[in-house]
Symmetry: C2
DNA sequence: ATTTAGATACCCATTTATGGGTATACGTGT
DNA sequence: ACACGTATACCCATAAATGGGTATCTAAAT
């Protein structure tokens, strides 16, 4: 009923890649179209237009570029991949950061074998997939606030803020006026006002309150 | 090893309350200390200092005051209860709203029987509890953004705001200017500005951004 | 009956923010 | 060599917000 699912695997341990290939080869629907041992290789592989993959299985700890940097790179380029994080980290902060960066699945290495095929099929199908331990820590993290809300899909694809813009934005949320921000950052008030204008435009909000609300919604503060 | 867990049940269907009592009575650790058929009754029951419960099982659809309003009332009063929502709604928006209002558990009526005892014990113990279907929709809702983050627990309203002040505050967080707020509420701009002054003073913040941040931190929005 | 809290509205003046430009300087990558 | 993004800074004008008052009306509480 549908084409094969092509998968690219990235992990700095060759043996783990071989394991994943072995597992995935047991399923006729899925095929490995490439693999990488460093983040740099991943980026380069996808830069080549001849290479294509429906799903990227991505380790976090890798030489040259780590998993975070790889996703940031793709986000910046506006490249939208179905990414499954395969990591031994089960720290909530890391999982959240990866979700913010747009990953669609997250499985831990402990029980990768039993999950990998299902995970690949799920994310290739536009769904999300988490291994049970990740599910648990995600649920635990749900408190009385800041519940996940289905936003504009892939809203990370919009205008990326520069470091300085984020710096200004953070100070705005701390109730600083332009004068005070200029003081703290040692720049002219006019410059701060330039940043305010850029922020308003990039984030498409009406005023400083909108900036603050954006910052909150997007975990910038 | 520990005292009994006292539970108050609120649902407008008497038969459902009876069912819950029957289920809960099978467990020696838990005891029903009261029940209510409307939201108003719940509020009144807890207003009486002689009444106490460790856990409140709360329906959403109820006459006089619904579940949302009951939780809002307790939040406003600074009353902190371990609340389990028992509802037939499994809409993500509703679950999220209830979590924002501070509920500690959420189970659907489909499979209440098999979950109710575990849920009560969990929330009485300070943990969270969700039935499997709720777990699933919560996980589904986790997108690339707005992941749950553990905040300051129970930071309720200090200086009580009036209804009108809260109304204005909410509009401020929606990026409305004073002119627009005056328009929406059909009052003079000068009146809106009076509210802004009062809000700034009561909440002890410097500007509108401070108001917005306060509103977010305190679940007003 | 009198106080109190809340909603409403205006006066004044000053400070900030917004919206439209333009412009220079620096570094990266093609 | 040149384009591009980023950080910086200024011009202009208008809109909005802030900070200090005072004041009236109503409903609820004492």
């Amino acid at each position: 009923m549908k084409d094969k699912i092509y998968v690219h695997v990235a992990d700095d341990h060759k043996i783990l890649i071989e394991g994943i290939i072995a597992v995935i080869n047991t399923d006729k629907e899925i095929e490995i179209s490439g693999y990488s041992l460093t983040g740099k290789e991943v980026v380069d592989w996808f830069d080549n237009k001849n290479n294509k993959a429906d799903v990227l299985i991505l380790d976090i700890t890798m030489p040259v570029l780590d998993g975070f940097e790889v996703l940031k790179h793709f986000n910046k380029k506006g490249i939208f991949l179905n990414v499954i994080i395969l990591s031994s980290y089960d720290d909530i902060k890391i999982v959240q950061e990866m979700l913010k960066l747009g990953c669609k699945g997250y499985i831990t290495k402990n029980n990768a074998g039993e999950h990998i095929v299902d995970a690949v099929k799920a994310v290739a199908n536009g769904e999300q997939y988490f291994s049970n331990d990740i599910k648990n820590i995600l649920l635990k993290s749900i408190t009385s606030k800041n519940i996940a809300v289905g936003d504009t899909p892939n809203s990370f694809l919009i205008d990326t803020l520069t470091e300085r813009e984020i710096e200004v934005l953070k100070l705005i949320t701390k109730e600083f006026s332009s004068t005070e921000i200029a003081d703290v950052l040692n720049i002219a008030i006019s410059t701060v006002e330039t940043y305010r204008k850029k922020l308003l435009k990039k984030l498409n909000v009406k005023n400083s309150v909108g900036l603050a609300m954006y910052a909150v919604k997007n975990n910038i503060v």
